[in-house]
């Protein structure tokens, strides 16, 4: 326990320790207990010369040094890698970094995740459950929307139930369908009944899609939320400007007077804008630019290890590709080190054909690493009776790195007498027209906040996005068991078994986990890594401040 906190504490900056402190108190601890707990872990609140760099455990590149107490004031501009007229203020439609960032600026959720993706109370100051099936959320008192209206249980009911309306086009509708009922049991308490038990509900509710809106909101020309910044200007495809919400429910936060968020699709233009001082923060930096940015002296890059992966899909419901031996042959043909070094220039972690990345709280240590082994690949290829065969492999720029991975695999395949013909298709329309539709293809899976979500959405037998069409009843059973299990140790064991199953029998090859690379102006303080994505898991707005 103590040890765990120590690890955790080492990754915190002062701002975050304060957040954890609030979270711990939200769970009914007194301030003194909470301080004692954190003190034991070497976490100090206030004072100077605090702690290491945020995200130090995650980042290889130097992160900004914590420089004492946060300073209020200042204006910054952040740029994400994509923007278009599809930009939205409606959290349920968020689909890109710039959307998530904007939503986290203007709205808050019932819960929030820390750097280890553990959920903590946010707008809900406390949550309890009965058998992981019926959940009660007690709302924080005194929280107001930007227009002054107090937060009530009705707002929460509205914000959660709207996702089920098919006409709305919510990105998380399939997740929201597990809410059997959401009702207000008092003005400050909400009860969520699920169709099946799910111990991960607090994690799910921390996703930006489930941020809390005002009851009855239908127009999204401006944002009225409870978030750290108020919406001053929003123009889709142009920019969003937020000014500090003086009545934010976290005392003392946020620090900046104003944040402007824009999108610059061209990477070179984004880096140039950063180096010329026009923007202070950017995401999706090319590994090649990282060196140049680090050499500038005034700016730096930050690598965030994440569970983002581009995977090789071997459709299990097709012949002959779906045979067990052919699948294994393909998995042995992935030269993971080379993919990491050549395709991602070192900004990636070697994967092991299962979707939980090293460092995740449910990662199974000790699962033997599948290596690059052409002898074994050849053995399985011959056993599958496919030596000398010709197979098309479909790749696309939409799945980051897949074009290069396909080329590498083509070379490996040639050495063992398999002729892979690389079929490159455009990024535009890939997800509707090609993804999961070819015997050999590629997918690109963004980080999901919980192990349950990733297994449910991409590996469960009847999942819509079961990429390889893999069916395994034992896996499905373990999944349901793990979802309902609220004991963390037992859960970790179940997730471990599932990782073994996917590693050994699954139909996808996961060669590497790809890192996110951000660039920032060194005057930005309090910045760090959250494995969900760049820009501190898209929630940097409330954490950062500008050094004088």
């Amino acid at each position: 326990m103590n040890n765990k906190h120590k690890e955790f504490g080492a990754m915190l900056n002062p701002a975050e320790s304060e957040r954890i402190l609030n979270a711990a108190m939200g769970r009914g601890m007194s301030r003194r207990d909470a301080l004692r707990m954190m003190g034991a872990a070497g976490v100090v609140i206030g004072g100077s010369g605090l702690l290491g760099a945020p995200g130090a455990a995650q980042a290889q590149t130097p992160a900004p040094a914590a420089a004492g107490t946060p300073r209020r004031g200042g204006k910054i501009r952040a740029a994400a890698h994509s923007t278009s007229t599809a930009d939205t203020l409606d959290p349920c439609k968020g689909s890109t970094a710039v959307d998530y960032t904007r939503h986290n600026m203007f709205y808050s959720g019932l819960t929030e995740l820390d750097t280890q993706l553990v959920p903590h109370p946010a707008l809900a100051e406390e949550f309890t459950h009965e058998g992981s099936k019926v959940w009660r959320f007690k709302l924080r008192k005194g929280v107001t929307f930007h227009d002054g209206k107090p937060l009530t249980a009705q707002d929460v009911v509205f914000s959660l139930m709207r996702h089920q309306n098919a006409e709305l086009g919510s990105k998380v509708r399939s997740v929201a369908m597990q809410f059997e009922a959401v009702k207000a049991i008092s003005p400050s308490e909400v009860e969520v009944t699920l169709t099946v038990a799910n111990a991960d509900l607090p994690v799910i509710l921390a996703a930006s899609h489930f941020l809390i809106l005002k009851d009855g909101t239908t127009a999204f020309t401006t944002a009225v939320g409870t978030g750290p910044y108020k919406c001053k200007e929003f123009r889709a495809g142009v920019r969003s400007v937020g000014v500090r919400n003086e009545n934010f429910w976290k005392p003392g936060k946020p620090y900046l007077d104003e944040i402007e968020v824009i999108g610059i699709p061209d990477e070179a233009a984004r880096v140039n804008a950063l180096l010329s001082g026009d923007i202070h923060l950017m995401n999706n930096m090319n590994p090649r630019s990282a060196q140049r940015v680090n050499a500038s002296g005034t700016h730096a890059s930050l690598e965030t290890k994440s569970s983002l992966y581009t995977d090789l899909i071997i459709r299990q419901d097709t012949t002959p590709a779906g045979s067990e031996d052919f699948t294994l042959a393909m998995k042995y043909m992935q030269d993971r080190e080379q993919i990491r070094d050549a395709v991602y220039r070192g900004f990636a972690t070697v994967g092991n054909d299962q979707p939980i990345q090293p460092g995740h709280r449910y990662y199974l240590e000790g699962l033997p690493q599948r290596g690059y082994d052409l002898d074994k690949a050849k053995f399985h290829l011959q056993k599958a009776g496919l030596a000398g065969a010709t197979m098309p492999i479909v790749c696309t720029p939409a799945a980051e790195g897949s074009v290069d991975i396909a080329a590498l695999m083509q070379q490996s395949a040639q050495k063992i007498g398999l002729n892979l013909t690389v079929n490159r298709v455009p990024a535009d329309g890939y997800w509707s027209n090609h993804w999961m539709k070819h015997p050999l293809g590629f997918g690109n899976i963004n980080p999901r906040p919980s192990a349950d979500l990733i297994f449910t959405q991409f590996f469960q037998s009847d999942a819509a996005w079961n990429e390889s069409g893999w069916k395994n009843p034992q896996f499905d059973q373990l999944l349901l068991q793990a979802r309902a299990e609220s004991d963390d140790t037992k859960r970790k064991k179940l997730y471990g078994d599932m990782q073994v199953l996917v590693h050994e029998k699954g139909g996808v090859g996961i060669p590497t986990f790809i890192s996110f690379i951000d660039g920032y102006d060194k005057r930005i303080q309090g910045y760090g890594s959250v494995p969900l994505g760049g820009l501190m898991g898209y929630a940097f707005a409330e954490h950062v401040w500008l050094a004088a």
């Binding site: 740029a79 007229t85 006409e167 140039n272 509707s432």
Partner: protein, 317 residues
């Protein structure tokens, strides 16, 4: 102005309108051919068949195509381009914030580039065959041969990243002083000038040289007119037709063809709006942009025609 000229002008305007109508048909048909629709692209990876069907019904994509065409055409005639399928704003509203920016960029670029191009063209025509002529040719041709993203990126590296004189992005939204205006427009306008000056200068040179070789110019020279007077007073008025054409073609590029410059400088113009529309399958937006570009192009060509007609003494009198 005599009846012939008036008839010619009316004729041109009529043809322009007819072309626009045909363009509307083509634009509508072609946008219908794009694979995928707004419902699919807005759901992306989360496009399950039922979700797509529900969203499609809500967006009105289940109505037959010809009905949608007539509704759209009717709307356009009354100045209503319909509603964006992606963010529910009216297309007019989206255009209202972007079109003035595009016109501003095009206008400033035209103001800078046209005088430069005409001067360069006339000077090299006057000194044709000389070292100046060949030097100008070399410079303008090399500039037009370099892709604009390279010009833009190099300019940003030099002026914004190294020297820090200008900003790498064009913050055209919040301009209140002349200084800010220059800062915002200097780099984009410079990049665009590199692209369009060469073409206009070359055409001007060719047109003027053509006139300079004719016998009436020889006559003017023989009667003792100075070279400047020969060019400006005698040759140039007769070269206005082809020059106006070259200018119109180059300027029409400024309206819709500046995607790269808008992207690199983060300039909120109509070209990037249309690219957004295409990638989001936001047909009303794509159609409106396509129509505006076509209308702009036709207007410029019409203007060139009018200039040619009105500058022709045989038609004017």
């Amino acid at each position: 102005m005599n009846a012939t000229a008036a008839k010619l002008i009316l004729n041109r305007i009529g043809i322009g309108l007819l072309t626009l109508l045909m363009v509307s048909l083509v634009v509508f048909a072609i946008t219908g051919l794009l694979p995928g629709d707004a419902a699919q692209s807005s759901l992306g990876q989360s496009a399950t068949p039922e979700a797509v069907a529900a969203l499609r019904a809500k967006m009105g994509l289940d109505v037959p195509g010809y009905m949608r065409y007539f509704n759209w055409l009717g709307g356009m005639l009354t100045g209503n381009f319909g509603y964006s399928m992606v963010n529910n704003l009216s297309v007019n509203e989206l255009l209202a914030s972007r079109l003035p920016m595009s016109l501003m960029l095009a206008g400033v670029t035209a103001l800078v580039s046209v005088p430069i191009a005409l001067t360069l063209g006339i000077v090299s025509a006057m000194k044709r065959g000389s070292l100046i002529d060949r030097g100008l040719n070399l410079v303008t041709l090399s500039l037009v041969a370099v892709p604009e993203f390279l010009v833009a990126t190099i300019a940003v590296l030099i002026f914004a990243v190294q020297l820090r004189w200008l900003s790498a992005l064009s913050f055209a939204s919040d301009i209140s002083t002349i200084g800010q205006f220059l800062k915002a427009y200097a780099l984009p306008v410079m990049t665009l000038c590199c692209v369009i000056v060469a073409q206009m200068a070359r055409m001007t040179r060719a047109a003027v040289v053509d006139e300079l070789n004719s016998s009436y110019v020889e006559m003017a020279i023989l009667k003792g007119a100075t070279p400047t007077r020969v060019v400006l007073r005698h040759a140039l008025p007769n070269a206005i037709g082809p020059i106006a054409n070259a200018v119109a073609l180059s300027l029409s590029y400024l309206l819709g063809g500046v995607v790269i410059v808008e992207t690199i400088f983060n300039y909120p113009g109509v070209a990037s709006l249309m690219v957004d529309g295409v990638s989001n399958r936001d047909m009303p937006l794509v159609q409106a942009c396509a129509m505006i570009f076509c209308a702009g192009y036709l207007a410029l060509v019409l203007f060139a025609d009018l200039a040619a007609i009105l500058s022709n003494p045989r038609l004017r009198q």
